[in-house]
């Protein structure tokens, strides 16, 4: 089940591997994504710190990792087709996968209902 951060990332945990992207709401706010500055595989990610950045025609915005872990996979599709984030932010437009993620790291994050409520306020 997806969990969301106040800074509009989503994270979905399968075992110890977490897939991370930005919310559909965030991609709508960013507008056309033209570049994703993907991190290196093997990079250590520390909860709450900037892991990479996304550039749209409007602005650059930092992506914060919602959990601790190590970058195991990056979505290289975004190198050639960054617009995938606009088309499917919470699916094909995932950004990174972290390995070694503990499930208790998700505590304090919002479920989808709570997140949708937050963005409506």
């Amino acid at each position: 089940m997806k969990k969301y951060t106040q800074s509009h990332e989503w994270v979905e945990l399968a075992g110890t591997r977490a897939t991370i992207g930005i919310s559909n709401h965030a991609q709508e706010e960013l507008g056309d994504v033209v570049y994703v500055d993907l991190p290196e595989v093997g990079k250590k990610a520390k909860k709450g710190q900037v892991i990479c950045s996304i550039e749209s025609v409007k602005a650059a915005s930092d992506i914060y990792t919602p959990v601790d872990g190590e970058v195991a996979e990056i979505n290289t599709l975004l190198d050639s087709s960054p617009e995938t984030i606009n088309q499917d932010a919470e699916g094909e437009g995932w950004i990174i996968r972290l390995e070694g993620v503990q499930s208790e790291q998700l505590e304090g994050l919002m479920d989808q209902d709570a997140y949708l409520k937050m963005i409506q306020e």
């Binding site: 507008g31 033209v34 500055d37 409007k58």
Partner: protein, 373 residues
């Protein structure tokens, strides 16, 4: 107007149309304006390949009337308004005594006793106050006419053919930077062949009540609504100035590469400062930059570095969809010439190499002015 009213966001006559089209609305210079409709890149493509439609009613209009309208504007503005023909428009600078740019604007030479000045929304009240404060010794009446006009821009290579069927004026007869007064779709307008996109096109000034039918008609004819996001990207590719980015009161037209708008052979406010700067030479000049590596897009404020030393900052930067490169403009020391390599500090710990390139970055279907015989 009370202070309370001053703080409220203003809306244009077309605001309900933007809402109807489900535009993303942003606050720009005190106005609620459409940022985008279908998406910035989609709108840029439409303008470059066909025709786009912009609500630019937030722009300010200042009417200068009276027997001294022409000499007064000639004293205020850097271009020569005396030698301009009636029916011509000029892109010109309103400077302070130091030669810094108060605003960059359009001047429409309508009659011997009437000039229409079109100023940036963000500078409208500042311009009006400045212009009013300079009237001593001139028989003129200066009026803030912003509420009297809606303004719509139709831009793109197919603008003229699209407009033909509803135009009561002979469009081909309107030269680049000229205007006609006549009917478009039965609506009385000032129509000028001007724009801010690098494409051929027209700008219409009309009564706000008449804006909606014209807007809808142009969409029906095939023009695509485009917002401020596309407008900024299009003007950036064409290297047109945006006040607050490339221009401000500490920057002179000579530094901005706008010496073609400055007639030093006549007196005007800022003349002596600009004459001196021309004689001594400028120390910085606006330059175009292209990054040499993918890996981050330059943005306004990013430092430009040569041999570890900051030499300037980015005034505007973006990824250009029409050129396919990451580009920027920046004021740089005069000795940094085309081909020179610099670094742009995109973020903390992130620097990309760039080279100085020629401006404009992109030239579309925009016409050039026919030379007078």
């Amino acid at each position: 107007m009370t202070d309370k009213e001053n703080t409220q966001t203003k809306t244009t006559a077309l605001y309900p149309e933007h809402k109807r089209l489900d535009a993303k609305i942003v606050d720009f210079a005190g106005w609620s304006m459409p940022m985008q409709y279908s998406g910035i890149l989609d709108e840029v493509r439409a303008v470059r390949s066909n025709a786009g439609l912009f609500d630019i009613s937030h722009m300010g209009e200042i009417r200068v009337n009276g027997p001294d309208a022409i000499p007064f504007c000639n004293y205020l503005l850097t271009n020569n308004i005396e030698t301009m023909k009636f029916g011509e428009v000029c892109y010109t600078m309103l400077c302070n005594n130091q030669g810094g740019v108060i605003d960059d604007l359009l001047a429409y030479k309508i009659r011997k006793d009437e000039i229409l000045l079109v100023v940036n929304a963000s500078n409208a009240s500042k311009c009006f106050a400045w212009i009013q404060s300079q009237t001593q010794g001139f028989v003129v009446h200066v009026e803030d006419a912003s509420n009297a006009f809606a303004q719509i821009a139709l831009q793109g290579p197919n603008s003229q053919s699209l407009l033909e069927s509803v135009s009561g004026v002979e469009l081909e007869a309107i030269d680049f930077y000229s205007f006609a007064i006549g009917r478009i779709n039965g609506i009385e307008c000032i129509v000028s062949r001007t724009g801010y996109t690098g494409e051929d096109g027209f700008e219409f000034y009309l009564h706000p009540d008449a804006a909606k039918p014209l807007w809808r008609k142009l969409i029906e004819l095939g023009a695509k609504p485009a917002g401020l996001g596309a407008r900024d990207l299009l003007r950036f590719e064409a290297c047109y100035m945006l006040y607050g980015h490339e221009l401000d009161e500490q920057t002179t037209p000579l530094e901005a590469g706008l010496s073609w708008t400055v007639d030093l052979a006549k007196p005007f406010i800022g003349h002596s400062a600009l004459k001196q700067q021309k004689e001594e030479g400028v120390s910085k000049r606006l330059k175009g930059l292209q990054t040499l590596e993918k890996g981050g897009i330059p943005r306004q404020g990013n430092p430009v570095i040569v041999k570890g030393k900051k030499v300037g900052h980015v005034t505007s930067g973006n990824q250009s969809p029409s050129v396919g490169e990451n580009l920027a403009m920046s004021y740089l020391p005069k000795d940094i010439k085309i081909g020179a390599e610099v670094d742009i500090s995109i973020r903390e710990n992130k620097t990309v190499p760039a080279k100085v390139i020629k401006m404009p970055f992109y030239r579309g279907s925009v016409r050039t002015k026919k030379k007078s015989p």
